[in-house]
């Protein structure tokens, strides 16, 4: 099974100093709660994304710890004010070794 490609939308990738970027992300994932049963009555095991991490040149912009109450295909929207040009790295980690990493170059003019 291949890892899904996250959908990422940045309001801008080239900004003036002090400008705030709006970032919207979504990744395909069932966020299985562990509460459901299959048609044969067997419990479907929990399988969720537990953590999302947005970091910029090693510094945390946002870290999100997610639990079973987050909807499937988790959507996260947040703000980012870069102080200099660099790379924004977005990482999703979850059960069963789930890991997706994306990088977005950011320029501060």
């Amino acid at each position: 099974m291949s890892t899904p490609t996250p959908r990422i939308r940045l309001s801008a990738t080239s900004v003036a100093p002090g400008e705030v970027i709006d970032i919207r992300t979504m990744v395909s994932h069932p966020m299985e709660t562990g509460n459901r049963v299959d048609p044969d009555g067997r419990a479907i095991p929990r399988n969720i994304i537990q953590e999302f991490h947005a970091e910029f040149d090693g510094e945390t912009v946002l870290r999100a710890g997610l639990d079973t109450s987050v909807s499937a295909n988790p959507y996260l929207q947040f703000k980012f004010a870069p102080s200099h040009s660099g790379t924004l790295t977005l990482t999703w980690r979850g059960d069963d070794g789930f890991e997706v990493v994306a990088e977005e170059p950011i320029t501060v003019i």
Binding site: N35, T60, G65, S71, Y75, A81
Partner: protein, 149 residues
């Protein structure tokens, strides 16, 4: 003004802000929500204000309820939101999400979509860099629940 956050029933207080100086957490549901808030604040009672929690008054689909939490803060190194906790009192697991922010966030403004199993109160608690805590809550009526199969 909602002084008692009831577990059942639709507590529709459209746009009502909690205006008391401190929100007594003794009014929170006793399924562990108060304990989760106290654990988050280290025992400090959160104050009202500064936190805005946007949720629909009526959610047609409990599987995907849009949530936006904003905190009034300059997000400087000296004064910023450090963490935000989201709780859904009636869900099988009330702790919905926990966000860590930093001055790099620029603004304390996070949105996501959550599952709500039934009509209930959703609570947001913000931990500020100065050690203070602020809290708000919104009631959501859910017409079709989203936590079971």
């Amino acid at each position: 003004m909602a002084r008692h956050l009831t577990r059942r029933g639709a507590l529709i207080t459209a746009g009502a802000a909690l205006t008391v100086a401190a929100i007594p957490t003794s009014g929170l549901a006793d399924n562990g929500v108060r304990a989760l808030v106290m654990e988050f604040t280290g025992g400090v009672e959160p104050q009202a204000g500064r936190v805005t929690l946007d949720l629909p008054e009526i959610a047609e689909n409990g599987n995907s309820v849009p949530l936006q939490v904003r905190v009034d803060s300059p997000m400087t190194a000296e004064d910023h939101v450090a963490r935000v906790l989201i709780l859904a009192e009636d869900n099988p697991r009330p702790l919905v999400a926990r966000f860590e922010l930093s001055p790099l966030s620029g603004q304390a403004d996070v949105s996501t979509r959550i599952r709500l199993g039934d009509s209930q109160t959703v609570t947001a608690v913000a931990a500020m860099s100065d050690g203070s805590y602020h809290m708000t809550a919104r009631s959501v009526v859910v017409t079709v629940g989203g936590c079971s199969g």
